[in-house]
Symmetry: C2
Subunit: 193 residues, 2 copies
DNA sequence: TGGTCTCCGTACTATGGAGTATGGAGATGA
DNA sequence: TCATCTCCATACTCCATAGTACGGAGACCA
C-alpha cells in the first residue's frame, strides 16, 4: 500500500517519526488505536524498528503525553496570551484554538479516563487554560469566584460537546456557528447588576 | 470471596441476573470492564452459564443498552415530568437526577464514543432530555432558539464534568455544591432584556 | 426407572496485540 | 578487509479474552 514513503530514500526511521505517526493515530482513533503493528505498517517497517527506539508501548505513550503538553503550551503562548489586550477577543481566540485542536484534545481526554498519567497531563493543561479564561473574565468585571465558575462551565460546555453532539445537525452548520451566541450566554450578567 | 450469594439456595442463575451484574460492572468499570469471566466469578458460576443465556457478548451489551434506556425513561417520567408545575423546580430535579445516575451515564457516554449502537441509545435519550430542559426554559420565558441552545449548553456543561473535573477540590465540597450558582448562570439574561 | 430438558462445569480453540531473541544488511572507521 | 555499530526483518512466545464442544448433574414427567 504505502510503499515506503514513495520518495525512495529514507531507509531509516527516527524515534521522532514514530512519535509523529503515533500522535496522528491517537488523534484519529484514540489511545487504543495506537498499535505497534499498525504504526509499523504505516511507516513501512516492522516492530523491530519500534523496539529499537522504545523500551515498550508505555514509553511511546509517555512520549505522546510530552508531545501533547508541549504543543499545548506553545499554542497557548502563541495564540491567546499576550497578543491582544482585549479580553473578549482573547476568549474568541481560545474558542478558535479549541476548534482546531478538537481531535487530539478529545482523544487525550478520553484516554485520561482510564490512565492516571494522561489524566495528570490533562489536569495540568486545564489548570493553565482555566487560568487564562478566568483572567479574561476578571478583566471583564466578573467577581473572582464568579469568573472561576464561569470559566469552568465554559470549558466543560466545550468539552461536553465531545460526548453530546449537536442534535439538530449531523455536520456543523456551514453558515455561521452559534459560538458567538454561546459566548454571550456565558457572559450574561444576572438582571440587576 | 463472594461465596455464592451466601443465601445457600439459588443454585440457578437467570438471564436477568447476568444483566444486572453486567450493568453494575458497566457503571463501575466502563464497557471494557464487562468481561465474561469476571462476571461469572462474581456470580459464582462459569462461562458455561453465560453462553447458555446469551449468544455472545454483543447480545449482553445490547441487553444493557435496553436496560439503560428503559431505566432512563422511567426515571425521567417519574422524576421531572408532570410532578411540579414550576419549571425552575423541574430543572433542579433534573440536576439531582443527573447526580444520581452519574456513574452509569458516564459509562454509557464513554462507551458511545466507540460504539454506534451505544451512541444511538444515548442520542435518543438526550433527545428526550433536551426536550424537557428546553420546555422548562420555554416556560421561563426564553425565546425558542435561545432555550434550545441554553439547554444544550447546560447538558454539555454537566456531561463535560466527566472529562474535566473541578480543579480546586479532589472530592466534592461537603458543604454546599455550587449548582444553584451554576443554574443561575445559565438562566441569566443579557443586560438589556 | 428411564428419558429428556434445563442449566452449568471443564477443557479446549481462536484471536489479537505486546514483547523477545536473534540474525542480517548496510554504513563507517581503522 | 575486517570489525563494529546502527537499524530493522523474521519468527517466535506470552497473555488476556471471546467463543466452542461436550459431558454431567439434577429436576420433572411418563
Amino acid at each position: 500500500m504505502v510503499t515506503r514513503e514513495d520518495t525512495k530514500s529514507r531507509t531509516t526511521i527516527s524515534r521522532r517519526d514514530w512519535i509523529e505517526a503515533a500522535y496522528g493515530e491517537l488523534a484519529r482513533s484514540g489511545e487504543r488505536g495506537v498499535g505497534i503493528n499498525a504504526l509499523a505498517a504505516r511507516l513501512g517497517v516492522t516492530k523491530g524498528s519500534f523496539y529499537w527506539h522504545f523500551k515498550d508501548r508505555a514509553a511511546l505513550m509517555r512520549a505522546l503525553l510530552d508531545r501533547w503538553a508541549h504543543e499545548r503550551t506553545d499554542e497557548m503562548l502563541a495564540r491567546a496570551l499576550g497578543s491582544t489586550p482585549d479580553p473578549l477577543e482573547r476568549l474568541r481566540r481560545i474558542q478558535a484554538l479549541g476548534r482546531e485542536v478538537a481531535p487530539i484534545d478529545r482523544a487525550m481526554r478520553l484516554w485520561a479516563q482510564h490512565s492516571p498519567e494522561a489524566d495528570e497531563a490533562v489536569r495540568l493543561a486545564d489548570r493553565a487554560l482555566l487560568g487564562h479564561i478566568t483572567g479574561c473574565l476578571d478583566e471583564l468585571g466578573f467577581a473572582p469566584g464568579d469568573a472561576h465558575l464561569r470559566a469552568l462551565l465554559m470549558l466543560r460546555a466545550w468539552v461536553g460537546g465531545y460526548l453530546v453532539p449537536s442534535p439538530d445537525a449531523d455536520g456543523d452548520p456551514p453558515g455561521g456557528d452559534p459560538y458567538d451566541r454561546t459566548l454571550g450566554i456565558f457572559l450574561a450578567r444576572p438582571a440587576d447588576s
